[in-house]
Amino acid sequence: MDMAIFYILLLFIIIAAIIAVETDNLLSSVICVGAIGFGGSLMFLFLRAPDIAITQIVVEVLGLIILIRATIARDLTFITGDREFFGLVVSIVIIFVIFLAGIRVFETLPDFGTAIFSKVHDAASQTYIQKGLEQTGAANLVASVILDFRAYDTLGEATVLFTSIIGATVIMRQKPKKLLEELD
C-alpha cells in the first residue's frame, strides 16, 4: 500500500516537472515547481523522515512565495464573470477542507513536551540514541548523527554553502563584466 502511494507520488512529480518545463505561462511553471516540492515532502514523510519533510515544506513555501512575487507582474490574467464566482467557491471549499484536516491533525498530536517519536517504537531516533556511542564512538550524539548516520545531509549542506559562495563571488565581481563589455 505504501509503495503504491509512493509510485503515484513519483508519477505526479514527473508529470509536474514536464509541465513546468513545457508550459509557456511563467506563473503556471512556478506553481508546478511548487507541486514538485510538496510531492517530495510527502515522499520524505512516507520514507519516515518527518524532520526532513518539515524542512522541505518550509523551504518550498518560502521559495514559492519569492518566485510568485517575482513572476506575478509578468503573467497575471484577471478572471471576471461566472469564472470569478467559480474560483471563489473553489477557494472557499479548499480552505474549508484544509481547516478540517488541520483540526484532525492537531487532535492526533502528542501532548506538548513529549517526544513525537515516543509513539513510534521503531523510529530511527531510537536507534541513534541507543547505538550511537558504540557504533560511531562519538560521545556527542549530535556529531554522530550529522557526520555518520546522516552524513549525506551534511554533504548537501556543505554543497549549498559552497554554491552560494560561488554565486555571491561571481555576482559581486566587477572585473569580468568590464572584460565582457570590451569584447562586445
Partner: protein, 159 residues
Amino acid sequence: MIQEGKIPNGVKGMTVIVKTIASWVKVLIILFGIYIIIFGHLTPGGGFAGGVILASSYVLLMLAFGREFVEENLSLPLASKLDCFGALGFAMIAVLGFVFGGTFFVNFLVERYGQPLELLSAGTIPLSNIAIGLKVGASLFLVTLVLSISCKGKECRYE
C-alpha cells in the same frame, strides 16, 4: 596576524581603543574556535559552529582595522583556496569510506584507534569536523569580504 606592540594606527578603521582590544581578543576567539572544532565529537559544537567562530575573529579584525589590513593577512584567493580545500577534504573522506569500507561515507576508522570519550576517537568524525570547520570559516569570511568590496559601486574591484 599582527604582532604585539605593532598595532597599525592609521586613519583606517576605528579608534585606538577598539584596535587594541580587538588585537587582544582575536587570539582568544581563534583558540575558542579551534577548541570547538577539535572537541566537536565530545562536547557540544562541531565544524559548523567552530567555523563561524573562526570567521567572526576575522570579521572583528575587518571592522576594527579596515578591509585592506585583513586582505593583507588573508587575501581573497587564499581564502577561496581554503574553502575549496575544506570541501575537497570532506568529499575525500566520503570517497575513502567507499574505498576502504565499501560504502559511501562509512566510518571506516571507528575500530582502528582510540576508545570512546577520548580525544582521539570516533573514526572519521573529527576529520570531517576539521574539514567542515575550514570550509565554513573560509566561506563566511569570503562572504563578508566580497560584500564589503562591492559596496562602493564602480570604484571597487579586486583581481
